[in-house]
């Protein structure tokens, strides 16, 4: 039980009120252990993003309990949740959300700024994170000078630079072509396996979900199935191919 990182108990989310009332989550129970790689799938509007926002402590459940490392999150204030995010969570977004006209290095340093790290510590950590996502040497490029895949790598570097317990990625490959998508998935998988970072990922694509070792299906605000993936994809096919061919 000690490695139980996240527990959702009967979590519901109600949007709007009166006529416009909409129950986006209808009682979710979910346990996630440290070091898991979970893919969340399901049709559009089934509540995946809503659940991710709650899991990422960006939003609070309307009812139910959320325990992060055994502590109740649903009772925390806005600032307390912000502190929890900056300490334990990393985010990767579909739209990258990098600061324009700002170098990759500075983008990655951003979360460390809010932690109050010194310039030297920030620079070293950012360089290491960029190295880890395969962008060593690209520190001084701005987003406009990077491809979509590279931008998402910078965003992943930003998510892991604080050495978080969990990385939450809502459709991280939604804006990328297939090849780039596989590269990103390979990266997330490597982070999960090599650094032990728990990864929660929402995706529509079964090929991408296949990298995860557990698949959770949402349907209409409920978890319809929650199954382990016994044969997860091992590495990005394009990355593996050359070695086999040559």
């Amino acid at each position: 039980m000690s490695d139980l990182l996240i527990q959702l108990r009967g979590v519901t989310k109600l949007y709007g009120s009166g006529q416009a009332e909409l129950l986006a989550l209808k009682g979710i129970d979910l346990d996630i252990r440290a070091g898991e790689f979970v893919a969340i799938m399901g049709p559009s509007g089934s509540g995946k993003s809503t659940a991710m926002n709650i899991l990422g402590c960006l939003d609070t459940p309307s009812a139910g309990q959320y325990l992060f490392k055994g502590a109740h999150v649903e009772v925390l204030s806005r600032d307390q949740r912000a502190r929890l995010r900056r300490r334990f969570l990393g985010f990767v977004f579909q739209g990258f959300n990098l600061l324009a006209r700002t170098s990759a290095q500075e983008n990655v340093e951003l979360p460390l700024l809010y932690r109050g790290d010194s310039a030297g510590v920030r620079r070293a950590a950012a360089a290491k994170a960029l190295q880890a996502v395969g962008l060593g040497g690209w520190e001084h490029h701005t987003p406009a000078e990077l491809s979509g895949g590279q931008q998402q790598r910078v965003a992943i570097a930003r998510a892991i630079v604080t050495a978080p317990a969990v990385v939450l990625a809502d459709e991280p490959t939604g804006n990328l072509d297939t090849q780039r998508s596989h590269e990103i998935m390979g990266l997330l998988m490597a982070l999960n396996q090599e650094q032990g970072i728990t990864v929660l990922m929402v995706t529509h694509e079964p090929d991408m979900a296949a990298y995860a070792r557990r698949m959770v299906h949402f349907v209409d605000g409920r978890i319809a199935s929650d199954v382990p993936n016994l044969y997860p994809t091992n590495s990005a096919p394009d990355a593996a191919l050359p070695a086999e061919i040559l």
């Binding site: 926002n53 995010r85 969570l89 985010f91 977004f93 959300n97 951003l110 809010y114």
Partner: protein
């Protein structure tokens, strides 16, 4: 924490140089307008004060004539002039008087060294030099016997010296003979230059003993003006009242007669004139301050636009763990740094503009550290005031909504 937030603000200002520049333009214009107005106004006040103090401080000028005012005309036509005895009476009978100089004046052409020059010849006593704050450049004042006898001696002002004696050996003209109408006088002293003033060139003058002027030029014992200089710290109002009383008695005026003389007070004149320019300065400064306020609203407007434009950025910052007050502080500091930057640029422009304009308008450049500091503080204050609302708006954004913003 403050430092890193400050660096964040600075970075986002530098990232958007063009927008930053446009944002501060209003403040720049406001600050430079206020400072330029006030500096020029102060310069004008100073120059008026200098001109009047050039006449002599604590000085009363008494002239025969009807009361000045509508229809008064101020002409001395029918009224009696003063006599030398009036000067002695004032000095001996009124307390607080430092010196009294009877003054006669005549516009004449003086000749020497083969050149002639039209100037104003003044007849007076040594007290005249005290009353008018004159200093000697070289030579000496009148000796007592020269004044009594009406000797043919004179002191000349800088302009007369330049026009007549420039280029001669020694260039001073000391000891030279200067022809004044039908007589020649020996130059015994040169007066230190006072420079140009609003009252004309005061250095364009030749001074002879009063008796000399009366006997050899005007041919009468009348005195056109009495210059009364007061002792430092004496009560000007009381002194003026007793002076008036004394002169009324000496001129045999009945109780219901109007004065047939006027007393001008240079101190009062200076205060009146400089308070007028002060009011004008304040007024112009206030008008300029309104533009500073408009500049502040400009900052608020652009900060609001910037908050909207950067909604996603703010959402991201909040998502990765920025606290509400950190975002608030960042935007606030951004506004303050921007507006203070506007203040600094404004001060630089104002310094250049008021320096240039004051030399163009021929008033002294009166740098006023107070108004510079005030403008800087005020513009920073405007940053806080008008930056707070947009900053709070940014800080209170919902990170999810903000991230979804397009």
């Amino acid at each position: 924490m403050l430092y890193s937030v400050f660096m964040l603000a600075l970075r986002s200002i530098l990232r958007n140089l063009m927008r930053s520049f446009l944002t501060i333009l209003g403040i720049v214009i406001g600050v430079s307008a206020v400072i330029t107005m006030v500096t020029l106004g102060n310069g004008a006040t100073q120059s008026i004060k200098a001109q009047i103090s050039g006449l002599g401080t604590n000085l009363l000028m008494v002239r025969p004539g009807q009361r000045m005012g509508p229809g008064g005309g101020g002409g001395g036509g029918g009224v009696p002039q003063f006599k030398e005895g009036d000067a002695e009476a004032i000095l001996s009978q009124i307390g607080g008087v430092a010196a009294v100089a009877p003054e006669g004046r005549s516009s004449l052409t003086v000749v020497a060294n083969g050149r002639n020059w039209a100037t104003s010849v003044i007849g007076s006593s040594n007290a005249w030099f005290d009353a008018g704050n004159w200093k000697l450049a070289s030579g000496r004042l009148f000796a007592a016997d020269e004044q009594l006898a009406g000797a043919a001696v004179c002191l000349i002002g800088e302009t007369v010296r330049r026009e007549i004696f420039d280029g001669t050996i020694g260039q001073t003209g000391l000891g030279e003979q200067l022809r004044v109408r039908k007589f020649s006088c020996t130059v015994i002293g040169i007066l230190a230059a006072k420079g140009q003033s609003g009252m004309g060139d005061q250095d364009d003058t030749v001074v002879v003993p009063l008796r000399t002027l009366q006997r050899r030029v005007t041919g009468s014992v009348k005195v056109a003006t009495l210059l009364v200089s007061m002792q430092d710290g004496s009560d000007g109002t009381r002194l003026k009242a007793s002076l008036k009383q004394l002169l009324r008695e000496r001129r045999n005026l009945a109780a219901d007669d109007d004065d047939n003389f006027n007393i001008f007070d240079t101190q009062q004149l200076a205060e009146t004139l400089s308070s007028t320019t002060q009011v004008l300065t304040t007024l112009l400064g206030a008008v300029a301050a309104v533009s500073l306020l408009v500049g502040g609203i400009g900052i608020m407007n652009i900060m609001l636009v910037s908050v909207t434009e950067r909604t996603r950025e703010i959402g991201l910052r909040l998502a990765i763990g920025a606290l509400e007050r950190e975002v608030l502080l960042q935007f606030l500091i951004e506004a303050v740094v921007l507006s203070a930057l506007g203040g600094v640029v404004g001060i630089v422009i104002a310094t250049a503009a008021s320096w240039g304009l004051s030399s163009l308008m021929d008033v002294p450049y009166a740098f006023d550290p107070f108004i510079n500091l005030l403008s800087l503080a005020f513009s920073a204050g405007i940053g806080v005031l008008f930056g707070y609302f947009p900053a709070r708006r940014a800080a209170r954004l919902d990170p999810i909504e903000a991230l979804r913003h397009e």
